[in-house]
């Protein structure tokens, strides 16, 4: 209320203080950051926000731009021989933004808090697989309550941030939202929700102080505003703009562009209902899609056609599993089930519109290709919240377009969760696939586990239980004088930007 009534009280105010200088990096960013708790709530599982979190907080384990893993606040980690315990070596010389040292107690508190149901961490089911923590010097050990072979990969993924135990306990959840501190390369200087966040370089950062003294993320969900920002020089760098604009801006004097295939794929979920129980229909739908054409014509070449749920950078990717574009084969398959262009098989396909680049246009193209072989698909546009809701209730249409991010590149977080029947994210629920994936959840031998998922992917591709389309490409435009290292995990990290 004070904020509302303040001017009436005629408060005396200080003048503006300008900080602007050449050491400021301004990023026209595509999403807004709603919450500073990177471990709880909707924001915590939003992949597009992670760039900001990773600028302020440290993760247990970090990732290189090619998705390979590297030490974060943990310098060493692993299991004991019989996989009943884990160990983690906590980094020395790391400090919170208030100057306090990062301690093993912070790591234990963060993991324990994440594992408690009452804190509302959406990944609680995974963090609760560890318990009975002990600390000896900088070494933390814990019992493995339920073995999960991906636990350390998850330590570089969603909600895997170490928060300051003492500070958080002292200020509480609301206090932390208003005044967050981390141990990352940048400190929060000012945050205006739905407008911008200004970060200040943290000189005591254990990884060395980053180059820019100040970083500003302007929240600009409107792509035309992002284009205007970078074109007028109001921002130094932007991302996720239409590919047509990317080509135009990259060719302009004073601007440069870089594109990278990222850990985000476009796919058509198949629901095992109605006509989709007929393998001929599914296979015909898969073989009728010319993915190369979609990438070349619709996405101006900015996409990588894929045939499984593994992008080339993922651990279980293999070029051996392919699904050929073969419309004649589609016609044969449909004919075997009594369908033709005169008597087409009919079903509904759902898609978002404008959520991903050319999503609706892609599905229009797909239905056009289907029509030529004898598939008549009616397009229904839905918003992303409805997709989540329908998917959780296993009520998606027989076909539904969606994108699936997987920045740790593990097959369990792509094929596993999207195709395993009991998973709330799976639309395909059949015993054969469940029987193949089931044993892999607890497989201790990493090579066996990866090979197992490759077999599952081949089986799924052969039977067209999902239709992977393409790996998305992230476009970044930046001004002359900067050098940008793109990140396959879709991050735009200020610490990966430098002056030439």
């Amino acid at each position: 209320m004070k904020k509302l009534l303040g001017p009436l009280a005629g408060a005396a105010l200080a003048a503006n203080v300008a900080f602007a200088d050449d050491s400021t990096l301004t990023i026209a960013y595509n999403v807004s950051l709603p919450s500073w708790d990177a471990t709880v709530g909707v924001s915590a599982v939003n992949p597009t926000i992670q760039s900001i979190y990773k600028s302020v907080y440290d993760q247990y384990i970090d990732q290189n731009p090619d998705l390979s893993f590297r030490p974060g606040l943990l310098t060493e980690w692993g299991w004991n021989e019989d996989r009943t315990k884990v160990f983690m070596e906590v980094r020395e010389g790391a400090f919170w933004h208030n100057g306090d040292p990062v301690t093993p107690a912070d790591v234990v508190w963060s993991l324990e808090r994440a594992g408690k149901e009452e804190t509302g961490n959406p990944i609680q089911f995974l963090w609760s697989t560890l318990g009975n923590f002990t600390v000896d010097g900088n070494r933390v050990e814990a019992d493995v309550l339920r073995f999960d072979p991906t636990i350390f990969k998850w330590m570089a993924f969603l909600t895997a941030y170490v928060l300051p135990k003492d500070y958080y306990t002292e200020v509480g959840a609301e206090g932390f939202e208003k005044s967050p501190i981390g141990s990352g390369p940048y400190m929060v200087d000012e945050y205006v929700a739905n407008s911008f966040v200004r970060l200040k370089r943290y000189d005591e950062y254990w990884g060395g102080a980053p180059e820019f003294e100040m970083v500003i993320f302007k929240f600009l969900p409107d792509a035309s505003a992002r284009v205007a920002e970078v074109e007028t020089g109001a921002s130094d760098i932007t991302l996720e703009i239409p590919y047509e604009e990317y080509d135009r801006l990259a060719a302009k004097d004073g601007l440069n562009g870089v594109t990278t295939p990222v850990s985000d794929i476009g796919m058509i979920f198949i629901n095992d209902v109605g006509v989709m129980e007929d393998a001929n229909v599914r296979k015909a739908a898969a073989h009728a899609i010319n993915k190369d054409l979609i990438v070349d014509r619709l996405l101006r070449g900015y996409g990588v056609p894929i045939d499984t749920l593994q992008a080339p950078e993922y651990a279980a990717f293999t070029a051996e599993t392919t699904v050929a574009y073969d419309p004649d084969k589609s016609k044969e398959l449909l004919a075997a089930s009594g369908y033709s262009t005169d008597n087409p098989v009919k079903f509904k396909i759902q898609t978002t519109r404008g959520f991903k680049p050319k999503d609706y246009e892609m599905i229009q193209a797909v239905t056009g290709m289907w029509k030529r072989v004898g598939i008549e698909a009616e397009i229904e546009v839905y918003e992303i919240a409805k997709h989540f809701d329908l998917r959780a209730r296993d009520a998606l249409a027989p076909a539904a377009f969606y994108n699936w991010g997987n920045s740790i590149g593990d097959p369990s977080t792509s094929t596993g969760f999207s195709m395993f029947g009991p998973s709330p994210h799976s639309t395909w629920d059949t015993d054969d696939v469940d029987a193949m994936i089931g044993p892999l959840w607890g497989e201790e031998d990493e090579d066996v586990r990866i090979a197992g998922y490759q077999r599952v992917d081949a089986y799924i591709a052969e039977n067209a239980m999902v239709i992977p389309l393409l790996q998305f490409v992230q476009p970044i435009i930046y001004r002359d004088g900067l050098s940008v290292t793109p990140h396959v995990a879709n991050f735009l990290l200020p610490q990966n930007v430098s002056s030439n």
Binding site: L4, L13, P122, V192, K218, D222, A385, D389, A392
Partner: protein
């Protein structure tokens, strides 16, 4: 006194009705906040736990009763995406929206009054045609398209004009309130005021232009009608100039339909902030409403809708009072 009590009672009843409608609709449409926050690998138990945490495991009537009981104590609940009390978020963002709406209204009023008076005063066909044409164009293009046009125009012609935010993010703002414009005026910080205006002018123009066009059409028509009345001829015979007659005689009578239209249009203008704020990254209640809807932040949507409803009611009440003040017949019939 009785009229005041009736007015207050009707406000409460309207808000209660709005709250029931929005509460039920939000829970019936597909898409809920829990589905939005379920990551890969979440089990049904995780979903059930989160539903319990956010109170969504109870029946809709039970949820409504709990919510209404808390609202009675001005507790609108916690935002699921911002993780802060809804009331705090609304009070934090509302000033930015109110200032934007105020500026847009001022622009609309200044433009419409200037053009209407000019057209009636000059009585030149070409000027009238030009003003009618401009008004038609401004009204034909919706506010969000004006926003897009301005953003593109800035890229081509005015790269120094900002297209995002409320102030330069490189600048530390030391304001005691969130009414930055008003505060900078009250405290005589004119440099800060000019800088804030520079950031506000494009979103305010985008919002205000269609409103200006609407007011211009009504005010100009009303002025022309007034100028044909007997009292105008009487004033002319007294030797008053045409401009003096327009301002001194006709304008007062032309105000009555203008007030009625402006109050209706003002509510549309507030609704328009939802898109405009998002396009210009204006940190107000409109852009907050959009992100609340996208993320299915039920407590925040409910709070914002109630605040919008309250603002609409207050605008209507204010316009009624202005109407009475402008029209002596209504005052005497009271």
């Amino acid at each position: 006194m009785a009229r005041l009590l009736v007015t207050i009672g009707s406000i409460f009843l309207t808000l209660l009705g709005v709250s029931v409608v929005i509460f039920v609709i939000l829970r019936l449409v597909p898409g809920d906040p829990i589905s939005m926050m379920l990551p890969p690998g979440a089990t049904d138990e995780v979903r059930a736990n989160l539903e319990r945490l956010y109170g969504l495991d109870k029946s809709i009537p039970a949820q409504y009763v709990i919510w209404l009981r808390n609202v009675a104590w001005l507790d609108f609940g916690m935002s699921t995406q911002f993780r802060l009390p809804v009331m705090e978020i609304i009070l934090d963002r509302l000033p930015a929206t109110l200032e934007l709406v105020l500026l847009a209204s001022l622009i609309a009023l200044v433009l419409s009054f200037a053009f209407s008076i000019l057209a009636v005063w000059l009585q030149v066909d070409s000027a009238t045609l030009a003003i009618d044409g401009l008004a038609g164009l401004a009204q034909a293009i919706p506010d969000f398209l004006w926003a897009l046009i301005f953003i593109l125009a800035v890229t081509l012609f005015a790269p120094m004009m900002p297209v995002s935010g409320r102030f330069d993010p490189r600048t530390a703002q030391d304001f005691a309130t969130n009414f930055y414009l008003l505060e900078s005026l009250v405290t005589l910080r004119f440099e800060a005021f000019a800088e804030l205006i520079r950031y506000a002018v494009l979103p305010a123009l985008a919002l205000g232009l269609p409103l200006a066009a609407g007011i211009t059409r009504v005010l100009k028509g009303a002025l022309e009608e007034a100028m044909a009345q007997d009292y105008v001829m009487l004033a002319q015979t007294k030797g008053k100039s045409r401009l003096a007659i327009v301002l001194g005689e006709a304008l007062r009578n032309a105000m009555i339909p203008t007030i009625a239209l402006t109050s209706v249009q003002l509510t549309f203008l507030i609704g328009g902030t939802v898109l405009i704020e998002r396009q210009f990254s204006w940190p107000g209640i409109g852009s907050t409403a959009i992100s609340a809807v996208i993320n299915r932040d039920l407590p925040l949507i409910q709070g914002i809708v109630l605040v919008f409803a309250l603002i609409f009611i207050l605008i209507n009440l204010a316009s009624n009072e202005l109407y009475r003040a402008a029209d002596p017949r209504l005052r005497t019939s009271r």
